[in-house]
Amino acid sequence: MTWIDSLLQSQPSWTNFAIFAGLGVTMLSITLGFVTFAILAERKVMGYMQLRHGPNRVGGRFGLLQSVADILKLLLKEDTRPKQADKTLFVLAPVIAYAPAFLVIAVIPFTEAFKFTDIGVGLLYYIAISGISTIGIVTAGWASNNKYALMGGMRAAAQMISYEIPLVMSVIGIILFTGSLNLVEIVQAQENIAFIFLQPIAFLIFLIAGTAELNRTPFDLPEAESELVAGYHVEYSGFRWAFFMLSEYVYLFALSALITVLFLGGWNAPIPGIGLNEIGLGAVWFTIKFIVIVFLFMWMRITFPRLRADQLMEFGWKVLLPIALANIFLSALIKELFF
């Protein structure tokens, strides 16, 4: 039993509250650090894949301080608010978009010792909370009183409701195999074999639907810059805009961590039985798998062109949904026959 387990099973008290608050602030700093360097990494990866260098001026040869400089610039930007905007909702929207993005991280177990909660319905919690961000996006689109913004917001809503269902259904196979929604138990069930080998179809569906939920290319219609200028955040500037970007990248963090937990076996060693779990290598395995997934998302962004709105919707309903439904029964059959 690790120290966090014994802490979670002790009587709730103000001491616990203080420790959890400290852990929360630590996690907040980790996510902010991740966002800073993920943006840089994305620009670098994008640069090299397009045969150019990417940022290489601020902070040495590799442009290590580029994102920091960008954030400072955003802090000094004037905060304009259109006069016809709905003031309350306009101010509220970035908060509604950001808070759930950070909230979902609470359930993700990174290693056996590095987790914050042990919630029985962890997976359901993630899916339920992550849906709230879309309300923030729609609110932003509506409150801006801008035609592009409203269109972007509506597209975000349509996209989210179409891809939420394949996303939710693809993980049912995993729940069938594990018999639990607890993410810690899901990782423990993968001690011998990662679920990506047992559920390859689910992995593909989850990856595609996850990209759509993240509003990343090829599913970045809500903010398609060539047709909607910037979509739902046209009217946002300075730090309010930064919070939309921040929530997008925090979701990238959370979703990549979730894919690692669900499909790649979390902190378990990639080759089972080599006994490398005991010496505290869990964090290393998790980080490697996590970085691979983040890189995959960046790779997809650079490789694929944006879909049309009709292709997007029809792909979600006519292809992904039937496959996800079939996958549920396929997994039940496999479980019935082989386990």
């Binding site: 616990n16 929360g24 004037e78 259109p82 908060v95 950070f102 914050f116 309903w317 019935e336």
Partner: protein, 124 residues
């Protein structure tokens, strides 16, 4: 007792994360107020519309397609609400529950095929 404490502590963490998630934007935006300039002008505060003078209100009636997709979403989301507990308890329920769930899903699938044939799923 350990389970109850685990439950309470876990949701305490969730509340703390929610608090931090709301506090960060508020703190950052309030502190930013001290740093950023603020001299709004009439021109700056107009809505952006690719350079032309904005006309009419942007909040217009929207296409009904969005509404129909929302209805479809509700149907299948309710389906997943039934699928989740079934999947968790599958070990105890066994083959009989699998066949029952198959019938349930096929019934909803007929609805999907009907919507497909009625060209509801077509996004023009």
């Amino acid at each position: 007792m350990a389970d109850l404490f685990n439950y309470q502590n876990s949701y305490l963490v969730v509340v703390i994360f929610l608090g931090l998630g709301i506090l960060l934007p508020i703190v950052a935006l309030s502190l930013g107020r001290l740093l950023r300039p603020n001299n709004p002008s009439e021109q700056k505060r107009t809505t952006y519309e690719s350079g032309i003078e904005p006309f009419q209100d942007a909040r217009v009636q929207f296409n009904a397609r969005y509404y129909i997709f929302a209805l479809m979403f509700v149907i299948f989301d309710v389906e997943t609400v039934f699928l989740y507990p079934w999947a968790v308890a599958y070990e105890q329920l066994g083959l009989f529950a699998l066949i029952e769930m198959l019938i349930f899903v096929v019934m909803l699938l007929i609805g999907l095929i009907y919507a497909w044939k009625k060209k509801v799923l077509q996004w023009i």
